[in-house]
Amino acid sequence: MKRITNPSLLLAILALLSSGPSFAAPDAQAILQRSDHARGGGLPGIVWEIQLTPREGARQMETQHLEVRASVDASIAETLEPARFRGSKILQVGRNMWLTKPGLSKPVPVSPRQRLTGQASNGDIAATNYAADYTATLAGESVVANESCYILDLKARHNRTTYDQIRYWVTKDREVALKAEFYSLSGKLLKTATFEYGLEISYHGRNIPFVSHMLISDALIDADTDMRYSNVRIRVIDPSAFELGQLQ
């Protein structure tokens, strides 16, 4: 047998052997981008309905029924039920938010901290575009609800995000997020969330699982908000729908 004496050639062969498919590091940002589809992100526009039920301690609060219309970085959430809030709307464009309801003289600007109800901020009910807003790195792997998952650490790219850091569990097979932990800039755990995907949408000829249930829990107090999604439609929304003059 002839010995390999050239060190460069030896290194090249070793590099070739170690670059096989079983050793490839997964692209965290691409995984994140694909997982966004299942939560309404990266689509030309989407409309859905949500039933939100907040709970604080033993007290189950009134369910709110919303219709959400969202495009890339704008959304409108309109309250359908309870009847006393009917017609109330929250418009979000970038980090700007306005609130209006019948009887108000004009839409009122509100800060991003203004919650819709319970633990749900506006960022939780709008379409999720984490790939555009966060930089993802792979932090490990684990099993959640019997599914093998990548653990992604997300860091906000700008100050317009609802959360500064997120730890995100995305399944290897379906590429959907099953669990999330939301952190403040100082690293304090604020909320956790779990997701289920009982719906399906069709986009570019592909059937994509779509979120049907999200449970957001407060990490500091005994409170959570149960969000159930329905009537999901991919639909391009005219820019004028996000005009303040059309809100009332």
Binding site: A74, G94, K101, K106
Partner: protein, 402 residues
Amino acid sequence: MKRGWLILFMLGFGLEAQASNSDWQSTWDAVLYAYPERLWRTEESVLNPDNRLARLADTSFTGEARLNLRLANDRYRISARPILSIRHEKESGESEPQGYLSQWQLRTALTPYWAASIGREVMNWGPAQFHSPSSPFYFDNGRSNPLRELSGVDAVKLAWTPDHRHALSIAFVEDSGHKHASPDDWKNTLLLKGDMRGDDWAGGLALAQARGSALFVGIHLQQTLNDACLLYGEISSTKRIDTLLSPRDFSQPFSLLAVSPRRETGLIGATYTLENGHSLTLEYLHDGHGYSRAESRAYFARAASSLAAAGLALAASPLLLNRNYLHMIWQNNLLDGDDYWRLMMSHNMDDGSTEFTAYIEHAVNGRLTLFLLGTLDSGGSRREYGMVIERSLNLGLRLALP
């Protein structure tokens, strides 16, 4: 609304709608209001001596139905907001029923970016809550009667929205809509409005000019500083018509100026939202059209001289009597939970008078809400907050249907 405009629009709208294959969807809802009101008039009011001028009812009852009707498909929308109300005054025993269209609109999306509409539309904008300096039609911002809904102005509008960060519209406002004043400041007004929105700011410019009147220029701007804090401002420059001049020397009489000199009105404000969803708002307003301290003192002295002078002073007073105001709001989350409350304080920095307002809502169930509105004016008979009314209390219920 001129019939020609309406017929032309209806014709185009009808032909276009007929050609559309999209499904029409109709919806309706209604809100019923019932509330008694009790007023405590200012004793020895200079502007309303013995209630002979304003003729305010001490006790009244209002019942009101606000309907919301809508027919729409992907391209077209027809909406109407009729209001039926009756107000009964206890002392006189008189009842005043009325029915009118508070708002209505025929709107068509010509393309994804262009839309045309005709109707009665509330053209009120800007982030300020005390008053709306940047809006030509709604400077008062509904403050004179907080339980009444603003009614729209009659207008034909063409809007261009190339994306959700830019919008431009041109409108012809025929008049100020339901129960417009005569003469109407905004009869035959051309309005041009542009809006821009960045990642964390929004702003707009409005130019309005009624036929034969001066140009109104209004600008509004807001900035989301961080997760909790908003900073905003509004400014306008305009001339007002039929302005009551009140010389400092009160031996000189009132005089009515057909058109005032050009003056500026500006407001700056900030809102801070607490972790629990409560928000605190502070606004400062300077109105160049208001009286100086000496002029408003002379205004009351002159009004006290005769009933005719008091009548003129009451009818033709500036929209805000003086020039410098502070407005504060503390409220909880508008959309969260069973109860909503809002506490407000408006302070006239020139004459030192203050108005305190409390509004409280309690949800009995998903449809029925009880509410209470109370105001307290501290100024007495010769200062703005208190010159006619000292206190008022409304206690009512609101029922949402279906």
